[in-house]
């Protein structure tokens, strides 16, 4: 693909802290290479802001190779930008043309309060995991792996669900700010495997209860989460979570 440079107009959400009202600020990004990632473009813009003695734009990032789940920008109305199955750090500037105006917003959800600019607090996800996204492992020697037969198909499904990096794009993309895709991936990856069986019922019940408590909306099956998920987590996981929750709710004795 041919390399080109471009000048862009950025409309970026600026917010001093969680109590600040926040507003859009218009900035010029000049001489941006089509080979840069979206975050590198922000690095260039921030360098200039620092040189001008202004406050740089705060945004989350860590691995910059699409596996950590830290980056979180809502770009032109799309979580992680216009490319499917891609995190913001893996979005390249060749997705844009010279002269484009790009609107960048933080994830919008009551359960994800803005900390500063484009950075949001996603610790609600941590508390959902704490409520049941784990397995019990007894102390002592690990037993032989062959003692636990696992169906290959289920292993693959569990692996696909475990690809969830917890970035929160599902919540950001959902018109209801529902966390069902995240919770369903975390419930599925354990419910499908033998190691996940001991806490299977309490896990589904407790994680859903915590999800509601955090103030996420409910799922109306629009499929926007699946469309935006950088790890392409499937809606079949939400159906599985529903089955797990129904089975647990109807049969658990507690």
């Amino acid at each position: 693909m041919e390399h080109y440079n471009m000048n862009l107009t950025l409309k970026v959400w600026r917010q001093k802290n969680k109590d600040d009202q926040g507003r859009f600020e218009t900035l010029q990004a000049k001489n941006i290479s089509s080979e840069m990632s979206f975050l590198e473009m922000f690095d260039v813009v921030n360098e200039e802001l620092i040189n001008e003695g202004k406050e740089p734009i705060a945004f989350d990032h860590d691995c910059r190779e699409g596996i950590c789940g830290m980056c979180s920008m809502h770009i032109n109305g799309r979580a992680h930008g216009p490319w499917n199955g891609t995190t913001t750090c893996q979005l390249h500037m060749r997705a844009f043309k010279d002269g484009d105006t790009i609107t960048v917003e933080p994830w919008r959800a009551g359960a994800f309060p803005v900390i500063k600019d484009l950075t949001v607090d996603r610790s609600a996800f941590d508390r959902i995991i704490e409520a049941g996204g784990y397995i019990s492992v007894n102390t002592g020697n690990a037993q032989d792996a062959n003692c636990l037969p696992v169906d290959k198909n289920k292993a693959d499904l569990a692996f696909a669900a475990a690809a969830c990096i917890g970035c929160g794009a599902c919540v950001a993309a959902c018109k209801n700010s529902s966390a069902m895709l995240f919770v369903s991936a975390k419930v599925s990856q354990l419910a499908l495997l033998p190691q996940g069986q001991p806490e299977r019922q309490t896990r589904a019940l407790n994680m859903v209860a915590q999800m509601d408590k955090e103030g996420f909306g409910s799922c109306t099956n629009t499929g926007a989460c699946e469309a935006e998920c950088p790890k392409e987590i499937s809606l079949t996981n939400i159906a599985r979570l529903n089955r797990e929750f129904i089975a647990a709710g109807f049969s658990s004795e507690k």
Binding site: R108, A173, G217, S218, C219, A227, N242, R243, I246
Partner: protein, 227 residues
């Protein structure tokens, strides 16, 4: 988890919306089958006999009252969920993805449902209220034992009003758009999402409940108007 807690969770509430919704789906099939008798050229003999049976059989009347409760329950819980879903995003986005990430139908469930609710109230006032709570003209057919309330004539009289015909067609567009997403969405809420059945469920949701049934309902007032 106690039942009270279970049905107070987001999924529990959605199960109630889904179950009542699927029950209402089954109702529209029966209702349409009965209504088609309005188009027979028998001056209402079959339809009025059917209406008398539906209006007097105790089991049917029990289900009919249950149906009204189910409609209210469906609407109440769905609206409650809609408002709490809106509240889950206090600051809205400046730019929205529109139809890029989800279908238009899937995002209009509350609007279409509200149109339907208004329609159902008008529809009940037009026919059910008049049938049960007013003195209606009766008609005696050859071979029938007693005079029957002439709901057939009331239908023909009602649909001579062009505005009402338009209103009924709008109501059925609301039904169509509601069920194109609604049927399959309810299946997903019950955990039914399986390669082997998804094609069939989509077909039933879109072509049977989303198109065939609303078109069937809408045809009746239109045909009567032009008759």
């Amino acid at each position: 988890m106690k039942w009270s807690q279970f049905f107070n969770t987001s999924i529990g509430k959605k199960l109630l919306v889904g179950a009542t919704g699927l029950f209402l789906c089954s109702f529209v099939i029966v209702h349409l089958a009965g209504n088609f008798q309005l188009l027979y050229n028998d001056e209402g003999k079959a339809f009025n006999a059917y209406a008398a049976f539906m209006g007097h059989n105790s089991l049917i009347q029990f289900i009919a009252w249950g149906l009204k409760i189910v409609i209210l329950l469906h609407a109440f819980i769905a609206l409650q969920l809609t408002f709490s879903n809106r509240a889950a995003r206090p600051v809205k986005y400046a730019v929205n993805p529109g139809n890029q990430t989800s279908s238009w139908f899937s995002r209009q469930m509350a609007i279409m449902g509200s149109i339907l609710l208004v329609f159902i109230v008008i529809h009940l006032v037009n026919f059910w209220g008049k049938f049960h709570y007013t003195e209606m003209p009766t008609r005696t057919y050859e071979g029938s034992i007693e005079p029957l309330k002439d709901l057939y004539a009331l239908s023909y009289e009602t649909f001579k009003n062009g505005w009402l015909v338009v209103l009924y067609v709008i109501g059925m567009i609301g039904l169509s758009f509601h069920l194109i997403h609604g049927f399959k969405s309810a299946c997903q809420t019950f955990g039914l999402n399986h390669k082997k059945y998804n094609g069939l469920l989509s077909f039933i949701g879109i072509w049977v409940f989303g198109i065939a049934i609303p078109v069937g309902f809408a045809i009746i007032p239109v045909v009567i108007y032009f008759k």
